[in-house]
């Protein structure tokens, strides 16, 4: 993984000192809250319902054991013993005190972590496929490019006061696990016929109150042009993006209002002015950054498969775990493992300090010291030997981390909602917990199969409800929480925005409604292999409407 050199180490620690100074000037009254706000957001500090919240970047979701242990330390020392992993591959602490935050940041800097640009109207933490560098279907590891983008976008002097936040995601595989089409810029690495690396570039995807799927603006952007082209997009957005209404300020609205062709022409014109200039990436630099992400030395041994099979035959829990949480790896004898942060009835994405330490230990012992955070709010050990899976499973089980539900109905994404968030109109975590309890039976979950439920506590859509196979949006109606259900959303290479099925349900009714939707799907699918999306796309919403609202 990427390691800081002297420059990076200075950069991050000097930024901590800078923020310490800003906090002092705020406390001394030299900065108003209005003036302080973008500065603290630049450093990941939100003001929430009960307290400040600190959001720490885990660039493209990759971290090592030492970093995970430091997060555990922060959770234990400055928070209430746990942290919350988010859909943007960050971690949030909900209870730090403002005066402690500079200290937390300097402790993170020691392990090459920071909170820079995890909030605010700037270019946010760049996200990537959580199986990068491991997945069997990958064309190339997108993380070197994510790292280059992370660096270029850090404290960018021209783009630190954009109309609104700006999110970039990168994938290196044809099957998109990074939801690139719902990002402001989505990049899909590809190779041309001669083996040259380039990107398919999508612009203007986003969720929030106006969900939009990104539009393809470049079929093949040569890798050398990555920064120059990104700069062109950002400049067009910075100059022309709307600033009169924050709900219309994302680049998706600019794409929509300007028209794709005209905007594309604007971007290309800007790019033509700056291409072949200082931002062109030299091949040697790409190589140098790529070398940091070289795969570990996989030791391939024969007989590994037999060891795992034998253990599976003897242990039904392990069998369930292997069936759901183990993913194909490019190296023979290896797998990527999902560590579910969705135990039945618990808050999605939460992990205790002790659990973080267990994961750190396992990564060191069995996983080439690598851990990932997925946008589905789970953790991943990307490189483990298949023969070690039984031992890892046993250790996870002891720590309450062995839920065999990756990709199943209880693997729910939920935003913080009314329990923490100042903008929320409804609870979302408790809804996730109740749905999870309703479908607790492992047999039933496996019978239902792959299903993505996503819940947001307000229209800002942090829980990605628009792109859930089943999406749930909490709204407020006459002082009561109501939940709107959308069906048919997806965030993969065939991204689609879900459609609202009908009137919403109360907090008490919503779990029954979800169960009806799920049962309806199971009843009408042609084969157990026909997943929810395929079935929904085949039959439409009518059967679900009937199940929910009767035939009238």
């Amino acid at each position: 993984m990427y390691r800081y050199d002297e420059f990076d180490a200075h950069f991050v620690s000097a930024r901590v000192d800078q923020f310490r100074d800003q906090v002092q000037r705020r406390l001394a009254g030299d900065l108003t809250e209005d003036q302080f706000k973008p500065l603290r957001l630049m450093n990941g500090v939100y003001l929430q319902l009960h307290a400040y919240m600190l959001r720490i970047a885990i660039p493209y979701g990759t971290l090592n054991a030492r970093q995970m242990r430091r997060l555990a330390h922060v959770a234990r020392t400055y928070d209430r013993g746990y942290g919350h992993f988010t859909t943007r591959q960050n971690i949030q602490f909900n209870w730090p005190r403002l005066k402690d935050i500079p200290d937390i940041l300097s402790q993170l800097a020691e392990v090459e972590m920071h909170a820079i640009q995890t909030s605010g109207n700037c270019i946010r933490n760049v996200t990537a496929d959580h199986f990068s560098g491991a997945a069997a279907d990958e064309i190339l590891d997108p993380r070197p490019y994510a790292e280059i983008l992370r660096q270029w976008s850090s404290l960018h002097p021209e783009f630190s006061y954009l109309p609104r936040k700006f999110k970039i995601a990168v994938t290196g595989a044809p099957h998109d696990r990074a939801a690139v089409q719902v990002h402001d810029i989505g990049l899909q690495a590809v190779r041309d016929a001669d083996g040259n690396v380039g990107f398919r570039v999508f612009v203007g995807g986003g969720l929030g109150r106006t969900p939009m799927v990104g539009r393809l603006v470049r079929e093949f952007l040569p890798e050398a042009d990555l920064l120059a082209y990104s700069e062109a997009i950002l400049r067009v957005y910075n100059r022309y993006g709307r600033r009169d209404n924050k709900y219309k300020a994302r680049i998706k609205i600019l794409v929509h209002e300007t028209g794709l062709e005209e905007l594309k022409a604007d971007i290309e014109a800007e790019f033509a002015e700056i291409r072949d200039g200082v931002l062109t990436l030299p091949a040697s630099e790409i190589e140098r950054i790529t070398a940091y992400f070289a795969p570990p030395a996989f030791d391939v041994a024969v007989g590994d498969e037999a060891v795992l099979e034998a253990a599976i035959a003897a242990d039904p829990q392990l069998e369930a775990f292997a069936a759901r949480n183990v993913h194909p790896h490019r190296a023979p004898g290896y797998a990527s493992l999902t560590i579910s942060l969705k135990p039945i009835g618990k808050a999605p994405g939460d992990a205790t300090a002790e659990q973080m330490e267990v994961v750190a230990d396992l990564a060191e012992r069995y996983g080439h010291d690598e851990i990932r955070v997925s946008h589905e709010q789970n953790l991943v050990l990307p490189h483990v030997r298949r023969r070690d899976i039984p031992a890892i499973h046993a250790a996870l089980a002891e720590a309450g981390l062995a839920e065999a539900n990756a990709g199943l109905v209880t693997d729910i994404i939920a935003c913080p909602g009314l329990d923490y968030c100042a903008l929320a109109t409804a609870r979302s975590i408790p809804v996730a917990q109740r749905i999870s309890e309703r479908f607790a039976s492992p047999e039933r979950q496996r019978e239902i199969g792959d299903l993505k439920i996503k819940i947001s506590g307000c229209i800002n859509a942090c829980g990605h409800h628009h792109v859930g196979h089943i999406g749930i949006l909490g709204v407020e109606k006459k002082g009561e929480e109501y939940y709107q259900i959308t069906l048919g959303g997806s965030a993969d290479e065939n991204t689609s925005v879900g459609e609202i099925i009908g009137r919403g349900f109360s907090y008490d009714e919503v779990v029954d409604a979800i169960e009806k939707v799920v049962d309806t799907y199971v009843g009408l699918r042609e084969t157990p292999q026909e997943d929810f999306l395929a079935a929904y796309r085949r039959v439409g919403d009518q059967p679900f409407k009937e199940a929910l609202y009767g035939t009238a």
């Binding site: 660096q151 021209e158 200082v278 931002l279």
Partner: protein
Amino acid sequence: MTARLYRAGGFVADEWTHLDDEAELPAQGAFVVPLARFLEQAADLPQGLRLAPLVKAGDDPASLAGHLAALELVVVDFAKFSDGRGYSTARLLRQRYGFAGEVRASGDVLLDQIPLMRRVGFDAFAVVNEPTIRALEAGHDVDVPLYLQPAERAGEVPAGARSWARRPADAQLS
């Protein structure tokens, strides 16, 4: 509230006076006028009268392209510090149109934004905000002189191996 003019090295007297659209143009002196008025009147100026444009967020600096060679000053206005369009304006003036005169930030200019403004090409700051004036007077520089992208300020040099990293020529990694 009158603005105080800061350039590298300290506060200096400002020889330019702001005029709005209505105010009559004196026969002599140095005046900053809104962009549209500048474009109308720049063509035939009497001897002894100097004009500089005030470019607001949303104004297109391309309209100045033909005038820049003869210009001493362009003022870029920040009605709100959080409106970042002025950063692109300054950068275009330097990068695209090769303007070599003074690019001055005016309006809601605050201490913590000045390092960014310098990097996109501003070299003078008309400051109204009291704490910012105090901090600048005390020599409180909040810049972190390590940058991860090329920009417009003269005198920056590559830092280390990366083609995109920069630092001021005179700053050491200490």
